[in-house]
Structures are given as C-alpha cells and as structure tokens.
C-alpha cells in the first residue's frame, strides 16, 4: 500500500475537454465511447499474421529463455501472435510446470520499447541519440574494424563479454575468439555461480555447478541458498521441494535453512537457523567437525575416493597436513560463537544429517559472494563428500551433457596465436586472479588503468554492466575509455543507451533458433531447442547468425572456422551427435524424423543417470575427490614462479596469510568487509527476487507487479530491516531511508520485519533503471550503486555482492 495519491495533472486541453464534456456533452460523449467494442480490443498488425486463418490456433514447443534453467514450454499462438506460455510436460526439467518468469515471455516479445533495427550512435555518449542503419552497413562497420585490428596484430584489443554460462552461443563466441585471436572472452560463469563452480573445479575437476538428486534425498541443508527465489532453477526446485513434501511427516524429507534472513527458502524449510552474514562456511565446517569427531562420516568413500583428508606427501616428499587436521579448530563451541547460534543446534543437525542419509548441503549467493566465497563453497562441498553424497543417489550429481557432435577443430593462424598468448585484460589466470577463469568485474580497473593494454572494441552479448554489475558509475567511467562498443541487446538498456556506439538488436528468445542447455538440475543429459514461435516482429537479427556472418565478412582465416549457413545449421551439426547416439527420449532411424520429433517436442533427454561413474565425475589430477586441491596448489605455485615470486609472496600480495596449503583446503575466513564498521555498521545483503530473470525483467509488468518478497509494495525498492536495527536509526515501516556505503548511496523504502537478523540491510536487485523501457524506468533504486568492484584480496575474483558494509538514515522529506 502507498501513501502518495497525486491526482492526474490537468492541463488546459484537459480543462477545455472537461468543460465541453460537462452536462449534456458528457452524456453524449459517453454514448459515443460505447461505440467501439470495449470487450475486444483490436490488435495491431504483426508480420505473418495474414497467413493464418481466422481464429487459427497452434501450440509451438520451445525452450524458455527467461533464465538459465531452460524449461521446456509450449506457446499458444493465435493468428500469428504468441498469446500464452505454458509448461511442456515432455521436458524433464519442469514436467509441465512453469514459473512466473517463463509465463512473462510474451511481455518480452511484445515489449513496446524493443529496438526495431540496428542503431548507430549520433552525437556524444551519454544521451540516447541514435540513427537507424541497415544490417549490411552494420556488418561492414564491425568487420572492417575487426579486420583492421587483426592486420595490426592487435586482435587481443577486442574483448567479448558473453553473459552466458553454457550453451552453444557461448561456444560460438569462444570459437570466434579463438579463430579471430583474442584472449579476452569473459563468460557469465564469472558472476554469481562462480564460487560453486570453482569448488567443483578444484575438488572434482569439473567447472560446472553441481546437480542434486532431490527425488531420492531425505535431508537437505541449505546454507544461504536461494533455491526458491534467486536460483537459476526456480521451477525445478519448486517441483523438487513439492515432491519432497509429499507423504506424511517422518517419511518426508526435511529441509534446514541456515541464513541471515527468512527468505522464501527459509519460509518453506522445516527449520531456519539464523547465522551471521558470511559465516555459513563456519557452520558447514562445524557440521563436518562433528561428523569426523564422532566418526560418522563416510569413511569408505574418503578412503577409496578421497584425497588429502589425512596428511600426505607430494613427489618432493614434502609432508602436507590434511583436511582432517584443518577441521580440528572448528569445534561446535567456536562455530556457535562465530555464527551466533546455539551450540546444540550444530551437533543436532550433524547427527540428523547422518541419520537421514542420503542427504546433501548446498550453498547460495548470500554465503558465497564475499571475499571468502571459494573456500566457503569448498567447505560445503567437502561436507557433502564426508556425507558420502558425491555422485550417489540422493546426493550431488555432475550434470551430464547431451552427446553433441563436435564442430570441426579451429586452427588459429599465427596472428591469432600471437594474440591469444597475450595476457588477459581481466587478469584471470594471471598473478592478479590466479584461480579465476574470467573476472568480469575486473574490467573497469583494467580499462581505466589501460594496463596491460588499452581496449579497442568491446562486444556486449547479454551483458548490461551499467546496471547489473557492481559500481555502475565506475563502469561508466571505464567504458568511456573504449573507443568502440557494440551491444546486442534487444532492449535499450543502460549500457546500450549510454555507451554503445552500435546496437545490433538480437531477436527476442521467442523469435530465434537456439539451443537450451538446462542449468544443472536433473543431472541426466537433456537438450532443449529454442525455436521461433512467431515471425520476427522487427528487423532484428539473431546474434548467432550475425557472429557467423561477421566471421565470413572478416574473411581469412575465420571463414573456414565457420562452415555454417546460419546458427540453426551450426546447431544441427551438433545435434547430429544426439541423433547418432540413438538413446534417450527420441530415437529415430532417419535424421529428418529425428529433427521433426525434436523440434516437435522441443526437448530431448536421457533420463538415466549412471551413479558412481568416478572417471566421469572425479577428473582431478589424483582421480579422487580432493579435500586438498592439488590443481589449485599447482596453479598458484606455477603462476607465482612465472611472475618470479614464491607462492607465499603471491598470497601476501593479495593480503592473505602466507600458508599455501591452507588456501588449497576448504576453510572459513572472516569476510573482509568493504567499509569500516564505525561509519558503516550494517551488513548489506542483496539478492535476486524471483521476478528478476536474465537481463532484468523490470520491463515486464507481470513480474514487477509480483512483489519481490512476501510483502505488497510494488514498483519500489525496499530495504528489509530488523525492528531493532530500525529503532536504532529511528526508522519506521514505509519511511524513505538513505543507504550509504563507501561506494555510493541510494534511497529506498524501509520495510521493518522480524524476518532478517539485526545488523543487516537486505535489498533486492532489479530496481532503479534509468533506461530499459517505459515499465522499467523511473522507480526504485539500484543496489549495485552500493557495491564496489573486485579488490585484490580475492584469488578467484568473486564478485563480492554480500561483502559490503552500509549505514542507513531516514530521509527528511
């Protein structure tokens, strides 16, 4: 509910109309208004509609593109218009269910503020003044620039930001980068899901977030995970949670949520353990400690498939302490003290977990997106190993990939090879971020300092850093330094409208061919096809097609690296693999029949998961589950030597205690908060509400009018405060308050609630757009203004979204 009730403004025209209306006039006019049918509005013309018979209706299967989950959907198309989206029962991920994001698809397709043709900036950056240009001109423009760079042997001065974590579009960009020759491809995995994927990478040798066997598990410990509001698998988790809840109490699986707030996840859990921000890892280690202390951990698994649990010697015969020893310090008492929870709860939960195996623990952004993120993720992962839940029924699974055929190998020419050898701009894999694969948030610093080299061209695919990355102001400054920026955004988002020199609008996901590799969830392999459900509304172009055309336009040697007619063709070349594998839900003798069925049902999946296939799931140097990550140890030592330092020095340079062994094992470090506790006493916890799909969604009224949390205020950004916190600052519910950090300040509405711990300010992402269309603009505040970009302390370049301290004060209106 609101307090402001301003009346519509009345200008002279209104007044005149009003007067003309008064009395009899009013009556007559009302009569005329009844003239055109109020019960059926006439729809605007859309391309291809005339090919449909009146009232003709088709259901087209495709894959949702609103978030990485890749749910299968069926779209109801009437007279060439997409009317409604429903879940596709054939899809193993959502089984006919569908979430609010997926349902809002039509509002993406028919957003009134979509970009309708390629745009070139006229006039200065900052103000959104563009001129439309033809696709051919645009292609020429880009290809010439890129060719020019290559000829100057400066391919590395082009960078690509691809907001995808997986899928063929990412691979296509990687292919492009490799063939063209630039090391600077930054993918989406470097963002929220980074730490979990890293933990998997260092301990299991698979850089991907794990899947979980919800159907068979009996106990789940969620460490600040937002599975029911912020995750990339909302529908699947909701379904899984539902399936867990069936059956009488006792036989039902339990969920325990340890976190700083009563989130939706906590709301639906059986128990909420309120731990202090950033101490989730300690809690996990406490549980592990109890399990080990009482000998309740899966000794068989540790013995057969574990590495570095007990002390061990490396080739040089140097003795290394094991994880077991490291665990000793995390006694329940100490952990309880760190987390601010009753001692008994730790032992209780630990025993419960052991009693109710199979069980697993999973951590979420609130626990991981801080300086200590990766080790925290490793701690949780280690806990799962101790419970013997790795690749076992009811435990953690490694998402199997569909048996796609490979594209022909790319042979980079020497120009490319030379460029690829260059140091990455974001410092990933270098002394700056030795453990990172790519660090999006490191770009601003690199661009501003111009080291190691100045960037010439930047390609933004599914990336809107000026809104969705920490410290947009800094990004703005940094991107000013880049002479040529291309955005593929279908909407005029902040980045596109403010800094992009060229906008090549992508089709909406309901208009293009694409694959949909579901984010890890079901475990077993699945492959979804995203296909056009309606004819493209405007002269937009699928970015996949554009990349291929670009490669061809640049010419030698990229041409032969891209032997595809278009992206659909490229995808088909991969799908052949599934066809020839002759397994899973679709098996056909003839390739065309296979394709027909694939496109018909929109999904292929092979719903058998081979448990305990260790060679698949443990790809570490030791071939075992590494409590002590040798690959990490190796990586750091090598990078250190390469930069002529000892590992200890390298660590010191990052402000870490110099013990390399310690770093390579799971553990709990205190969060190195941004901002001193004196002037910024409160911890900022931000989260993605489930009305926040890929690319925002603030332009989808259906999502925005769904309140981000269990409150009612819409079209505003609220900060959730504990009554004590509020009282201390003399703030009451509904007040406008200013939240300030060392980086910036925003104005939000206070929401007093016992559902957060004292000393915390919890704010959802997604508000405060300055562009992005009529529905998104002009309400709420962007919490990213409070968060700083990545500092040096982190080895993996984790975006520290939950590592900021803030202060609040009431805004005197």
């Amino acid at each position: 509910m609101t307090t402001s009730r301003e009346q519509p403004r009345i200008d002279r025209r209104d007044a005149l109309r009003a007067l003309s209306l008064t009395g009899l006039g009013a009556g007559l006019l009302a009569g005329c208004e009844a003239g055109e049918d109020p019960f059926a509005l006439t729809k605007p013309a859309v391309p291809g509609a005339d090919g449909w018979m009146r009232g003709e209706e088709r259901w087209v299967s495709t894959a949702c593109g609103q978030c990485p989950a890749g749910c299968g959907v069926r779209v109801r198309v009437v007279e060439g218009r997409a009317i409604k989206i429903e879940g596709n029962p054939d899809c193993a991920v959502n089984r006919g269910g569908i979430g609010p994001r997926g349902l809002s698809g039509p509002q993406v397709l028919y957003d009134p503020d979509r970009i309708r043709q390629p745009l070139r900036r006229v006039g200065a950056r900052g103000e959104p003044r563009f001129e439309p240009i033809s696709w051919d001109d645009a292609l020429a423009l880009v290809s010439e620039r890129l060719r020019g760079l290559r000829e100057k042997n400066e391919g590395h001065r082009a960078a690509i930001v691809c907001g995808r974590e997986r899928g063929l579009m990412l691979e296509l960009w990687q292919r492009f980068a490799a063939a063209y020759g630039t090391p600077n491809l930054i993918d989406g995995m470097s963002t929220e899901n980074g730490p979990v994927a890293d933990a998997m990478h260092w301990m299991q040798g698979v850089r991907e977030i794990p899947a979980h066997d919800w159907n068979q598990t009996r106990y789940v410990v969620s460490l600040g995970s937002g599975i029911l509001e912020s995750s990339c698998q909302l529908v699947y988790f909701a379904r899984a949670q539902g399936s867990m809840r069936r059956g009488a109490a006792g036989s039902r699986a339990k969920i325990v949520h340890a976190g700083v707030a009563m989130t939706r996840t906590a709301m639906n859990a059986d128990e909420w353990i309120a731990v202090r921000p950033g101490t989730h890892a300690a809690f996990a280690l406490g549980l592990a400690h109890v399990l080990v202390r009482d000998g309740l951990y899966d000794q068989a698994f540790v013995a057969e498939h574990g590495f570095g649990f007990d002390a061990w010697k490396d080739e040089q015969g140097v003795e290394h302490a094991g994880f077991k020893a490291a665990l000793l310090e995390y006694t329940p008492e100490k952990v309880a003290e760190i987390c601010g929870i009753p001692v008994e709860s730790i032992a209780r939960i630990a025993l419960d977990m052991h009693a109710n195996r199979p069980c697993f623990a999973l951590a979420g952004s609130e626990a991981l997106l801080a300086s200590n993120g990766v080790r925290a993720a490793m701690a949780v992962h280690a806990l799962n190993a101790l419970l013997g839940s790795i690749d076992r029924p009811g435990g953690l699974l490694v998402q199997r990939q569909a048996p796609l055929a490979d594209w022909p190998e790319v042979e980079p020419d020497e120009i490319a090879v030379a460029a690829l050898a260059q140091e990455r701009l974001d410092g990933a894999g270098g002394p700056r971020f030795p453990l990172a694969s790519s660090v999006l948030d490191a770009l601003p610093e690199a661009l501003l300092s111009g080291t190691p080299y100045a960037l010439d061209s930047l390609f933004l695919y599914y990336a809107n850093p000026l809104f969705s990355r920490p410290d947009p102001a800094r990004w703005r400054k940094a991107l000013e330094k880049v002479p040529f920026i291309v955005s593929f955004s279908p909407f005029l988002d902040e980045t596109a409208s403010e800094v992009a020199d060229l906008i090549l609008p992508d089709h909406s996901y309901l208009e293009r061919w694409e694959d949909a590799a579901p984010a890890p969830s079901i475990g077993f392999a699945a492959f979804g096809v995203r296909q056009p459900v309606v004819q493209p509304l405007y002269s937009t172009r699928a970015s996949g097609d554009f990349v291929i055309q670009l490669a061809k336009a640049i010419g030698e040697p990229l041409e032969e690296a891209f032997p595809f007619a278009d992206f659909k063709d490229a995808m088909k070349q991969r799908v052949v693999g599934i066809f020839s594998a002759k397994r899973g839900s679709i098996v056909e003798e003839k390739g065309n029949d296979f394709l027909k069925r694939l496109y018909g049902s929109g999904y292929w999946n092979d719903d058998s998961y081979p448990f305990e296939s260790w060679e698949e799931t443990l790809r570490t140097p030791s071939g075992r589950f590494e409590f002590f990550s040798q690959s990490m140890w190796k990586a750091i030592s090598e990078i250190a030597t390469a930069s002529g330092k000892t590992p200890a020095e390298l660590l010191a340079a990052h402000g870490l205690p110099g013990d390399l062994d310690r770093v390579c094992m799971p553990g709990y470090d205190e969060v190195s908060w941004r901002g001193k506790s004196e002037e910024h006493p409160l911890a900022l916890i931000l989260f993605k509400p489930n009305s926040y799909p890929v690319g925002g969604g603030a332009n989808q009224p259906w999502l925005q009018e769904l309140t981000p949390w269990t409150g009612r205020r819409t079209y505003t950004t609220e900060a959730e405060l504990h009554p004590d916190t509020a009282q201390a600052a003399k703030i009451s519910d509904g007040d406008r308050i200013e939240v300030a950090s060392g980086v910036g300040r925003i104005e939000v509405v206070a929401r007093i609630s016992r559902r957060v711990l004292p000393g915390i300010v919890r704010i959802p992402q997604g508000g405060g757009h300055t562009a992005f269309g009529r529905f998104a603009r002009g309400w709420g505040a962007n919490v990213m203004d409070l968060v700083g970009v990545v500092p040096g302390s982190s080895l993996s370049g984790v975006p520290e979204l939950c590592g900021t301290r803030v202060a609040i004060k009431k805004v005197q209106a």
């Binding site: 509910m1 009346q7 209104d14 008064t22 009013a26 009612r712």
Partner: protein, 513 residues
C-alpha cells in the same frame, strides 16, 4: 419577483445580496461539474477511493452524502407529516420549507449515487432494466429517490395550491406558472375540506414509506457479515435517528435564513426554534445512546477484527475525528437542553448548535462508512486509508451548492412560508359539515390506488425474479419501472381525488376575478 417586493423596502441591497449569492453558488456548481467531468474522463481513479485490501476504501464521500441527503429528505417529510397529522399550528410556517428541503435533497441523493457509479450511463440504463429488491440499493434508489420525489412533489403541490392562487391573483411575470400550480383552486369550502383530507392521508402514507426508505440505507451496511463494524441490527435505527437530527438542523438553518426577511420574521417566531432545539437535543441523546451501545458491544466482542474497528475509532487511527464528532454531538445537546430548562430561546444558539450537529452527523457517517473497509479486513491484508480527493470534494460541494441555489430560487419564486399562516388562516373557510362528494371522484381515486398497488406488487415480484432463474432478465422488461410507476400511481391517486373538478355550479374563480 413575486413575494419579495411588496414587503421589502430595502429592495436594492437585498437584490444585490441575492444575486451575488446566486452567482457564487452557480460558480461552485460549475466547479463540481468540472470535477465530475474529470471523473468521467480518467475514471474513478481521480477519486481518493481504491481497492479494499490493497490499501483503499471502495466507498467514500459520495456514499456518505447519499446517506446525508436521504436523511434530510426523510427528516423533512417526517416534519411536515407530523405537523399535518397532529395539527401543530405553531410549526406550520416551516412545513413548506421542510417539503422543499425534502424534495431537493432527494434529488441530491440521486445525484450522489450517480456520482459514485463507475458507469453512470450504464447505471441509468441498467437500473430500470435489472434492479432487484434483494439488494438494499433497490430501496434507496427506486423507492427513495424516484418514488419519494414524486410523492413529495405531489404533497408540496397540493399543499401550495391556495398560495399559488393568491400569487397568481397578484399577477407578475410568473403568473402562468402560478396558475399552473394553483390548478384551478377556487377557495371553495369543499376544496378546502377535500385538501385537508388528502393532505392528511398523504401524510399518513408518506411517513412509514419514508421510514422504510431511510431504513434500507441502514440495511445497505447492516447486512454485511464480512464488514465488522457494520454488521448489526442497530444500523437502521441509528441511521433514522441521525437523519432526523441533521434534518432538524438544516431546517433550523433554513428557517433562520428565511427569518432574515422582515416580512417573514413575524411568522417564524422564536418558539419554533425552541421546538426544533428540543427535538435536536432529544434525538441527539437517543443517538448517543445508540452509539454507546454499538461501541460497547463491539469492544466486548469476541471477534478480533470487530474490536480492531472499534478501537480504531476510540483510540486508533480515527480517534481524532471520532471524538471531535462526539464532542460536536454532546456540546450542542447540552446547550439546547439548558435552553430548554431556562425556557428562553436564543435563535443564535440554536443555529450554532444546528451547524455543529450537522457537521458531527456528516463526520459520523464518514466514520461509519470508511473504517469498516480500511480496518475491518477479515484476512490479513494491510490496513487501508482514505482521503477524499479534490474531485470528490468539488462534486459534493457542487451538489450542496446546487441544493441551496434551488432553495433560493424557490424562495424567490414562491412564498417559502405559507401565506395562509401569515394571515392566521383567516382566509381558509372552516368547512365543518362534509360537502357532498361525487361518486365518480371516489371511484376514480380508488381505481388509481388499486391500479397503483397492483402495478407496484407485480413490478416488485417480477424484478425479484419470481419464477425465473435468478440471473435471467425479468419476465417483463423494465419491471422495476413497473414497480416505481405503481408507487407513483398510489400517491397519484391523491391528485385524482383532489384535482378532479366538481361538476355542477362553478364557484367564482378568485383568480380571474
């Protein structure tokens, strides 16, 4: 310019006063129309009303003033009927004011409802089509505003024939109108006798009829089980008493205004104000008693929400207006009571008390309508709040101005105080022995009456969907109209009885003499 002239020496200044006042009121009306036009264009969004449960109230000022005006009408009618039935000669000078007040405020009430509707045009079309008696609105709308208007008008007309005749005799540019009103009044004993009869019976019929009308408004709220604070048996009586209070108040004001004219000052004696004052304090006492009972019951009630609403009034969000209203009830009541004890009437005091009481009554009605919507939510929706927007205020202001203007104009065109009382009824011949009646007169009257009754009953039953599916159109289209016209006929029979000309020897026409 009939009645003003001959008595008033300081014509010029009074003229000026009159016109300036009229212009001012007209301006208010125009503003109201402008506001309403806003509402027509932008929808009810321009009002302060919003969805219940999403922080708003769905009913507000419009409904409040609908209640107020219906109340005034009811009170006016009660006054005039009581005066007539019990031959309260002393109060007779006010009877016409009361009638006018009733007539005009009935119109205002209708307009209030229209203003509240989301689709006024549809309302005018669909109500006569589909109206159903099961909804209390049927009562307020068809009974009160339509039938009440007609009945009151008939009474007013018949009652003012004699004066009209005298006016017509005086000539002036309004002569045709006066002649029309006089409807051939010849001042014969028979006519006088007949008029006594009709006015008597009419009064008798109107009283309970309007009682029902006023009570249905109470039902509108009383039957809402889902709205704590409304649900209860005391609503109807409460509404009735409150209505009487405010109408006595307004009557006092009108009388006081009329009294400012020297020619009338004599007729409207202070005792009249004494009587009004007494009525007011008695009624107020009764009303306070009712309120006390309601609040007491609510605050003991088991239902948490019931108590929440009560508390919001007594100590919560609405405490300030509530207690102000209470004060505005108590203080005047006490003052008037003292006046009663001291047996000395001060017109000024009475007027001030009347003003206070009316303000209190309106606020109280607002406090009946709103809190049950904003606080009385049975599901844990967030509380709502309601502030009238300028549009609502403008529309209501316009309506009130319209009412006053109508009063002024009438007072200007026609004696607001029956001339007969000015002349102490000397001109009315005493007709003690009953004159001979024409059989046809009685027959025709009876016929109309019966026809009316028949129409009304059938119309009622038809619009109640007897014998058809509840959702279907009534068997006979526009059956609500049948009902209304039936009621009109019932009262119209009075016209037949009185206006049917006598056969035989014509008495000399006093007008065209």
């Amino acid at each position: 310019m009939g009645s003003l002239l001959e008595v008033d020496g300081r014509r010029g200044s009074s003229e000026l006063r009159w016109w300036s006042l009229a212009v001012f009121l007209a301006g208010l009306v125009a503003l109201g129309m402008f506001g309403y036009a806003q509402q027509l264009m932008h929808g009810d969004l321009v009002s302060g009303l919003r969805t219940i449960g999403q922080g708003g109230a769905a009913w507000g000022l419009y409904i409040v003033f609908d209640i107020t005006f219906v109340g005034l009408a009811f009170g006016g009618l009660v006054f005039m009927t009581v005066v007539r039935l019990f031959h309260l000669r002393a109060l007779r000078p006010l009877s016409r004011m009361a009638q006018i007040m009733a007539l005009i405020s009935l119109g205002m009430a209708g307009l209030c409802v229209i203003a509240d509707l989301g689709r006024p045009l549809q309302g005018l079309l669909n109500f006569p089509k589909y109206a159903r008696p099961m909804s209390p609105f049927f009562g307020t709308f068809s009974l009160v505003t339509c039938t009440g208007c007609v009945a009151t008008f008939i009474y007013l007309w018949l009652d003012s024939r004699a004066d009209a005749a005298t006016q017509a005799a005086r000539g002036g540019f309004l002569r045709p109108l006066h002649l029309l009103m006089a409807a051939g009044w010849r001042n014969t004993p028979a006519e006088a006798w007949r008029h006594k009869q009709t006015s008597y019976l009419l009064a008798l019929a109107l009283l309970p009829f309007m009682l029902i009308g006023a009570s249905t408004l109470g039902f509108v709220f009383g039957i809402q089980a889902a709205r704590p604070g409304w649900f209860g048996t005391l609503q109807a009586p409460g509404f009735v008493v409150l209505a009487l209070i405010s109408s006595m108040g307004v009557l006092t004001l009108i009388a006081a205004a009329a009294r400012r004219k020297p020619s009338l000052a004599a007729a409207i004696r202070p005792e009249i104000f004494g009587w009004l004052g007494n009525m007011m304090w008695i009624l107020t006492a009764v009303y306070l008693y009712i309120v006390a009972i309601e609040e007491l019951t609510a605050s003991y009630a088991a239902s948490a929400v019931e108590t929440r609403v009560a508390d919001s009034l007594i100590s919560g969000a609405y405490a300030v207006p509530f207690w102000t209203a209470m004060a505005c009830f108590v203080v005047p009541a006490v003052l008037l009571f003292l006046q009663f004890l001291r047996r000395r009437v001060s017109v000024a005091t009475t007027v001030i008390c009347a003003l206070l009481l009316n303000a209190a009554a309106i606020v109280k009605r607002l406090l009946i309508v709103v809190p049950s919507q904003t606080e009385g939510l049975l599901l844990p929706y967030p509380k709502g709040h309601y502030l009238p927007s300028w549009v609502e205020l403008a529309v209501i202001g316009g309506l009130i101005a319209l009412g006053v203007l109508a009063c002024l104009v009438f007072a200007r065109l026609f004696p607001i105080v029956p001339l007969i009382t000015l002349a102490d009824e000397r001109s009315v011949p005493h007709a003690d022995e009953r004159p001979k009646q024409r059989a046809s007169r009685l027959f025709l009257t009876g016929a109309t009456l019966c026809a009316g009754l028949a129409l009304a009953v059938t119309g009622f039953l038809l619009s109640a969907r007897f014998g058809t599916e509840r959702w279907q159109d009534p068997l006979v289209p526009f059956s609500p109209i049948l009902f209304i016209s039936g009621m009109v006929l019932i009262f119209g029979s009075a016209l037949v009885y009185e206006l049917l000309p006598d056969a035989g020897k014509r008495a000399p026409d006093p007008v065209n003499r």
